[in-house]
């Protein structure tokens, strides 16, 4: 299908850690399994952000290592065993802090693009 060029999230490498932040945000109100996270991000960004799975799972492992998310096995919609991720309190705090700094960064970039 046509539409906006789907960029793999690797292009967000200019702002490192952004993928981790997006995952945390996606998990803010619900538990999701890996595919569910990728789907959510795609939906909300209108297909712009298609997370490369080769980036997704390492990112999830990072978040697990840092203790920002935890994982449990559950049953998916089609009755398959799936691993669900949820935010930990530490993750919630991290999400708040990181969102704020990212938004500041974005505002700064926008300002430069508009007025410099």
């Amino acid at each position: 299908m046509g539409g906006p060029i789907s960029r793999s999230v690797d292009s967000l490498a200019i702002l490192p850690g952004t993928l981790d932040l997006l995952i945390l945000r996606a998990l803010r109100h619900r538990r999701l399994h890996g595919y569910g996270i990728a789907q959510r991000l795609r939906e909300v960004s209108h297909d712009v952000l298609q997370v490369g799975e080769s980036s997704l799972y390492p990112a999830l492992q990072r978040l697990l290592l840092d203790g920002y998310v935890r994982a449990e096995w559950g049953v998916s919609e089609n009755n398959r065993r799936a691993r669900y991720y949820a935010l930990t309190p530490g993750g919630r705090k991290q999400l708040g802090a990181e969102s704020e700094s990212l938004e500041r960064m974005l505002a700064a970039i926008q300002a430069v693009l508009r007025y410099a």
Binding site: G52, Y57, P58, G67
Partner: protein, 896 residues
């Protein structure tokens, strides 16, 4: 926090991997299902999914990499891989590990001896703070003894001080008496030292009460004499006939503050003084030694300044140091020494005696380890050549050279680790073997030395160093080699000559090192043999020596009198089994009271180099006969004719060296000479009535010095040594002599019997140990050479299989092939010997001070070592040679 999570992840590693795989499988299915919904056919959908997914393997690796840094992961992977590789070639692994274990073990064994002897501190807390003050009393001398009043005056400052005195006393346990070492300590001693008791308790201030004397025994005494009896508390032992109750046992390893620590029992100082175990002739007599603890932050110099000041103010008696001629007198002063390693004996510097030989041995085992590393290195080389193909494939698949080198180094470390474990076993067993029956066993408690952290750290460092040394050899080849070439089939079987040079060079190096050790061993063994056979001048066999001591007995005031000596000799000679007996103030090897005097000839003439200080010994008649020293001219000494009433003349005997030194070949009989004490103005005129053969009185190494022999006189000697010549085979003669002596002078102290032969062997302890160890190392070196030569020749034969096949097809006989192999092997040996011979000579010169009767340039010894090496090399070449001969030319040519 993160690393905790890492560890938790690692513990369930396999499970996590499986879970990840399952997760990815589900993800893939969902992607496929999604694509299918968008009306792609299932196969395309799957492929599309796969494409989006990317390289799954890579992704799993990336996911894993989050948890485990890449490098560490690689290392662990390599470790598992190389471990499997080692298990698959057990022969190689076994040989390599054994070589390393021998090398590392020998190093650890010697180091543990060095540690115990030279480095180890006293087993008390903060031993490095212990100090001892000494009075500087002369140009040469220090005196560590003080009076009790002096100590009390010095106490009270920031430096804690306590006093103690050591004495030998006869201790009776359940009827069995022996002379033991007693440490009498003051009330602050145990507190200062800082140890408690392992059984019972240590002394406390109230134990100074004389009514119930108590004693704390040391662990070594408890184990040696009381069989570690757990019910020892409350037992009564008699010290100088006074009953003492045992109230405690010191911790293992503590036996006083001296080095070597030899105290058997410890009693309160006041009790010791009260019962005469420690004598204090007058109130201000210097009878105690002081041990102190300096404050942790103070240096030794500070401590010395402070204490010296205190002492000068309170106690310096104004005595001055006697200066050598021409210098100004200075007041006696105090010096403070560090005794964290124990207070060394004044007369015999045991540490010094063994230091040099242990250092030489350390160098020897380091060489041995080097040889072992070379051995293992060449074995690894041979192995890596065989794996060259595999390594080339790995490089082709993208492994960096660094990765390959890491893998090889990991393999080396694994071998080194196994070698270290084996080495600890070898060291444990080896140091026990060394310590048995020699002086070293007394000096070092080998039990505790074995596994101290210092030793383990040393072993670890040595093993890692060894691993790096032998690991870098094959690793460097990997880095340099043109691996592309090895991929080709021809390259696989080529007989590249260049590759052989390194291998053979290494074996030659090993042979050079082995030659060094073997020739060193033969030099030291020859030294020992020479010392044993050296002309002593007397006969040590069947001679028993007894020390008869009047000190601290009823006879002390009169000392050994001529009459008593006569009586004793008559009684002893009458015993069956005793052929001769005589007293003297000094016996060979075992010593006695050494004395020297200045000798001048009448008319004031002295030998060319100034007044000669000569040794003299007081003897009774038939002393010489008892020892087997021949009376060459004139007669034996006879005290009854000795002192002429009016004059100061006496009849003496001299040895041949004396006659030569002072009378230059003139007949010395009837000649007179004077002898004088240092500073003493009365001197005696001695008339020579006999000349006896030269005898080595100090030890077999020392050359004979001029000596003269005076008759035993009254009041001169508090103790004398009795030498008895007994007929062989009579084991009870010693006891009957002791009983006889005790019956003539009841209460007198008799020490002995000491067999003279055993004493001589004992004096050669250091040479014995050196020879034993050097031979051991030489043997190990030869074993390593055997393995090395075998390995490299086998490799050479395998490499040249094709060439050998062609030769045999062209008509070469088996004989010719064997000759070819042997020639190659001997050429390696030749190179090694050429390199090693000068090394051996240099090493021989380095230890020339230890040698006796043999020079480092001794050609027969060197030739013997070389032939041993050649024999070993030939023997270990035989198997590969046989392998070469059994090559079937048809098979090798067909595989072309």
């Amino acid at each position: 926090m993160r690393w905790l999570n890492r560890i938790a992840y690692w513990l369930r590693f396999a499970r996590h991997q499986k879970e990840l795989q399952e997760e990815l499988a589900l993800h893939r299915d969902l992607v496929a299902a999604d694509a299918e919904r968008r009306r792609l056919n299932p196969t395309d959908a799957r492929n599309a999914a796969r494409r989006i997914m990317g390289n799954e393997t890579l992704m799993r690796e990336d996911a894993r990499a989050v948890w485990l840094p890449m490098r560490l992961d690689n290392v662990l992977q390599d470790a598992r891989y190389t471990w499997r590789g080692l298990r698959r070639s057990p022969g190689f692994a076994l040989v390599a590990v054994i070589s390393l274990a021998l090398g590392i073990g020998a190093n650890t064994a010697i180091f543990s001896l060095i540690d115990g002897l030279l480095l180890a501190r006293l087993p008390v807390p903060f031993a490095k703070e212990l100090i001892q003050p000494e009075r500087v009393v002369g140009v040469r001398g220090v005196d560590p003894r003080f009076s009790r009043a002096e100590l009390r005056a010095m106490q009270g400052g920031p430096i804690s001080l306590a006093m103690f005195a050591s004495a030998a006393a006869s201790v009776d346990i359940d009827g069995v008496a022996a002379t033991l070492s007693v440490d009498a300590v003051d009330e602050g001693y145990f507190g200062l030292i800082g140890i408690g008791a392992q059984l019972g308790r240590i002394l406390s201030p109230r134990d100074n009460v004389e009514a119930n004397p108590v004693v704390v025994i040391t662990d070594r005494f408890w184990r040696a004499r009381l069989n570690a009896d757990p019910g020892v508390l409350g037992r009564v032992i008699k010290i100088r006939s006074q009953p003492f109750t045992v109230i405690g046992v010191t911790p293992r390893g503590f036996a006083g503050v001296r080095f070597p620590a030899m105290a058997d029992v410890m009693i309160p100082l006041r009790t010791a003084l009260a019962h005469g175990i420690v004598r204090e002739p007058r109130a201000d007599a210097p009878v105690v030694e002081i041990v102190g603890r300096r404050p942790a932050a103070w240096t030794l110099a500070q401590t010395q300044t402070t204490l010296a000041l205190t002492w000068t103010r309170c106690c310096a008696t104004g005595e001055h140091i006697r200066p050598p001629r021409g210098q100004v007198m200075s007041p006696a002063t105090l010096s403070v020494v560090d005794v964290s390693r124990g207070i060394p004996q004044l007369k015999v510097d045991l540490r010094g005696r063994y230091t040099r030989i242990l250092m030489a041995l350390m160098a020897g085992v380091a060489i041995l380890l080097l040889a072992a590393c070379v051995n293992v290195g060449s074995l690894l080389l041979a192995r890596s050549s065989a794996r060259a193909h595999e390594l080339a494939v790995r490089v082709a698949l993208g492994a960096s050279r660094a990765r390959l080198v890491t893998q090889l180094l990991i393999e080396s470390l694994q071998l080194a680790l196994l070698g270290a474990v084996g080495g600890l076993l070898v060291a444990w067993w080896g140091s026990r073997l060394l310590a048995r029956g020699d002086d070293i066993g007394d000096l070092v408690d080998v039990g505790t030395a074995s596994l101290s952290p210092t030793i383990l750290a040393f072993t670890a460092i040595v093993s890692i160093a060894a691993a790096l040394v032998f690991g870098l050899i094959p690793a460097s080849r990997v880095v340099r080699a043109d691996l592309a070439a090895t991929m080709q089939a021809v390259g696989r079987r080529s007989s590249r000559r260049s590759s052989g040079v390194l291998d053979r060079g290494l074996v030659a190096l090993q042979i050079a090192l082995a030659l060094l050790l073997v020739s060193g061993a033969s030099l030291l063994t020859q030294t020992l043999r020479n010392l044993r056979e050296t002309e002593l001048g007397f006969t040590p066999e069947r001679r028993l020596v007894f020390g008869v001591d009047t000190r601290r007995t009823a006879y002390e005031r009169q000392g050994m009198t001529v009459q008593m000596a006569d009586e004793m000799l008559r009684a002893v000679r009458a015993l069956p089994g005793v052929r001769a007996a005589g007293f003297a103030s000094y016996v060979p090897i075992l010593g006695g009271r050494s004395a020297t005097d200045n000798v001048t000839l009448p008319g004031g003439t002295t030998p060319a180099d100034g007044p000669a200080s000569t040794g003299f010994v007081a003897v009774t008649p038939s002393y010489f006969t008892s020892l087997g020293i021949p009376v060459k001219r004139g007669t034996d000494v006879d005290p009854s004719v000795a002192m002429k009433a009016a004059s100061n003349e006496r009849d003496v005997a001299v040895n041949e060296a004396f006659a030569k030194t002072f009378f230059f070949g003139r007949d010395p009989l009837g000649q007179l000479f004077h002898d004088a004490d240092d500073g003493d103005t009365t001197f005696t005129v001695d008339r020579i009535v006999g000349v006896v053969g030269d005898a080595k009185f100090v030890n077999p190494r020392q050359p004979v010095t001029p000596m003269y022999f005076v008759p035993v006189a009254d009041h001169d000697w508090p103790y004398l040594e009795l030498v008895a010549r007994v007929s062989g085979g009579d084991a009870t003669a010693g006891q009957s002599i002791v009983r006889t002596l005790a019956s003539i002078a009841p209460g007198i102290t008799v020490n002995g019997p000491s067999p003279l032969g055993a004493a001589i062997d004992g004096s050669l302890a250091r040479e014995r140990i050196s020879a034993k160890l050097a031979t051991l190392f030489g043997a190990i070196a030869l074993a390593l050479v055997a393995v090395g030569v075998y390995g490299v020749m086998l490799y050479q034969v395998t490499q040249r299989t094709r060439e050998i096949g062609i030769r045999m097809a062209l008509g070469a006989s088996g004989h010719g092939v064997v000759t070819m192999v042997l020639t190659q092997s001997l050429s390696i040996v030749g190179v090694g010997v050429l390199a090693g011979a000068p090394l051996a000579v240099v090493a021989g010169r380095a230890v020339s001070s230890q040698l006796y009767g043999v020079s480092p340039y001794d050609v027969p010894a060197l030739l013997a070592a070389i032939s041993a090496l050649v024999a070993v090399a030939i023997a270990s070449t035989l198997l590969p040679a046989r392998r070469a001969v059994t090559v079937d030319p048809l098979i090798t040519l067909r595989s072309e």
